[in-house]
């Protein structure tokens, strides 16, 4: 009998083109997603070497990081951002790469539109010059972020030089309590294993609580695998996946879909497959999570308190905690609930799908954003935006005093006009709370969409379960 294999082992083996004596493999790439920030130097490299794009028909480009989220028709005011997007447009024309223009209804964050368009499919290898490519693992694809040199490598050869990762299983059982979501699961996982806990591994998420998630929730979980240091996150494709994929514009149809689905079923990990590391979490014990520091692993339940550096025996770690508390302007022992905030950001590739907006709107409906809070909702794609408008969610947000924006990365990272001001404190549904991530001096608390909505109303970090 053949050896029991994990889903990662199977997808990997199916993509090895060649293997060198030291184990380095030439790995075939099925999908290459390209955006404006990490690609200009790669196309420039191709041009300099006189090389072309090997498989434009496996490549798709979109601009998301640098685009303004209001008044799209007016173009991009900031000259460097405008140049970067114009450079992408010139490159896709010159190299024949399919492109979704900024003004197209389907434009959005690359990791939202890949699955949404059926571009990202189970069993594929998917790469993008962006670490949150791990998101696409939710459909059962091996998806990971690469640097710009590797972007050039894929453009030129449709392959990458890689060594296999180790296998890690994160098993989440139990039923998620009311008020908790996929975001709370992944924040709790990162809190448990740390930001380097997954280094060198591909994490497969399994267990009843993962199977019970819809695709949006699964994407939220896989999205933040990189915050746990993992190379990628994976979830076995099942009926939820197949229902999601069916009918998407770039997905197979008819007989091809049937044959594809049969193939996809064969991808799941075999019983008895070996994992180098196994971590378990009980979802039923979860409480909504919130970060207090400047690393995603610094997470506590909303009922918790800021830890005291004095209790940390390791001098280096203690110094780091002290620096975080100083940057975040928090005191040891302070309760997280009740901490006053200045801004709320509902958006990003972690939490800007229609399902996220429905949950947030459910909390906001009939209420008002606190007077001192600047709150914005930035849908993950033009199609999410249109859907939310059709369902009346946009009106729920704007009636409550939220800004309602065009799709893009927006305030997830401070490189477009949406930024925190120095010292501003933000409840954010994004994925990184690094120093300056949302603007120099900005202070980020990572939370779920429901918790961000609750914070906007209360004007402070608050337990959404108490807002019923």
């Amino acid at each position: 009998m053949a050896e029991a294999r994990t889903m990662f082992d199977k997808i990997w083996a199916a993509h090895v083109v060649d293997r060198m004596p030291d184990g380095t493999c030439i790995l075939y790439i099925d999908r290459h997603l390209v955006h404006e920030v990490t690609s200009p130097q790669a196309f420039e490299g191709l041009r300099a070497a006189g090389r072309g794009v090997r498989r434009a028909d496996a490549t798709i480009a979109v601009a998301d990081h640098n685009v303004p989220t209001e008044n799209r028709a007016a173009g991009i005011a900031e000259p460097e951002s405008a140049l970067q997007v114009a450079t992408l447009e010139r490159n896709v024309r010159e190299f024949g790469v399919p492109y979704i223009p900024v003004t197209d209804a389907r434009q959005g964050i690359v990791h939202i539109i890949g699955p949404e368009q059926g571009i990202s499919l189970p069993g594929m290898t998917i790469v993008c010059g962006d670490s949150h490519t791990s998101t696409h693992g939710a459909v059962g694809a091996l998806a990971f972020g690469i640097g710009t040199s590797e972007v050039e490598h894929v453009l030129a050869t449709q392959t990458l030089l890689q060594k296999p990762a180790k296998n890690m299983l994160v098993r989440v059982d139990g039923v998620l309590p009311a008020g908790c979501s996929a975001k709370d699961i992944i924040l709790a996982v990162i809190g448990k294993i740390g930001t380097a806990g997954g280094t060198g591994h591909v994490i497969e998420y399994a267990g009843g609580a993962i199977e019970a998630l819809d695709m949006a929730g699964r994407m939220t979980v896989c999205n933040m695998s990189i915050e746990a240091g993992a190379r990628a996150g994976l979830i076995a494709p099942d009926e939820v996946t197949f229902d999601y994929v069916r009918g998407r514009p770039f997905a197979p149809k008819g007989a091809a879909l049937e044959r594809a689905t049969e193939h996809w079923r064969s991808l799941v990990s075999d019983a008895g497959a070996h994992y180098d590391r196994v971590v378990t979490l009980d979802a039923s014990a979860l409480v909504p999570q919130v970060t207090w520091g400047t690393s995603p692993e610094t997470v506590v339940p909303i009922t918790g308190h800021v830890p005291d550096p004095a209790a940390e025996p390791d001098a280096g770690k203690r110094a780091q905690m002290e620096r975080m508390l100083q940057y975040m302007d928090l005191r040891p022992g302070q309760a997280l609930a009740g901490t006053k905030i200045d801004a709320v950001f509902i958006g990003s590739c972690t939490n800007a799908r229609i399902e996220d907006l429905r949950v947030a709107a459910g909390v906001v409906r009939g209420r008002r954003v606190a007077d001192h809070v600047r709150a914005m909702v930035v849908p993950g794609s033009g199609l999410v935006k249109a859907q939310a408008e059709a369902e009346g969610l946009a009106k729920v947000f704007t009636d409550a005093g939220f800004d309602w924006r065009e799709a893009g990365c927006s305030m997830c990272l401070g490189m477009n006009p949406d930024k925190l001001k120095p010292g501003e404190r933000c409840a954010s549904t994004s994925n990184r709370n690094f120093e300056g991530r949302q603007g120099p001096g900005g202070r980020t608390h990572l939370v779920s969409p429901a918790m961000a909505a609750a914070a906007a109303i209360a004007g402070a970090l608050t337990d959404v379960r108490e807002m019923a």
Partner: protein, 206 residues
Amino acid sequence: MEAFGRLEAVAAPLRMANVDTDKIIPARFLKTIKRSGLGVHAFAGLRYREDGSENPDFVLNKDKYRRAKILVAGENFGCGSSREHAPWALLDFGIRCVIAPSFADIFFNNCFKNGILPIVLPEAECAALMDDADSGPNARIIVDLAAQTVSRPDGEAFSFEIDPFRKRCLLEGLDDIGLTLEKAGSIDAYEADHVGAPWLPSIEQV
């Protein structure tokens, strides 16, 4: 890519764990369409004060470390984003080698593509090098890639591991893409077997 052989240089001690890529190069500097010129923005949030002046407390602003070519740092160096602007910024500043107890995967990969050697050493050896680095120009550290050693000023040498393939690429300054294209026949054969499967539709038109 510039080849990496032997490096004898001043090392700067960056006593921080989890140095993320937003720290190495904040997002607002990623708008460039070039690889060069990012050195001035390396560690911008730590290196400059709000008014744009240098923060004299930051290690790379101290005279003895302005020309450091080696960085000794804490665990999980380079976590966060895939931005290759991070190694580009380090390289443009003059850093050719980073030594730490552990690195984030994508950053680690990106270093090799740019002629920067990331070296993983045990905590205790990193701590010893960190102490050496404190002495500034009075303590030069020697990195020998061929021998896979890092030598302290007192002559003690630590050995490090490196993939044979990566080592060869770095020593000879080889271009990955050129190497892979030597295997174009294998890629052609793979595509003949796989491309066009029902589960791999191509993106014909947007």
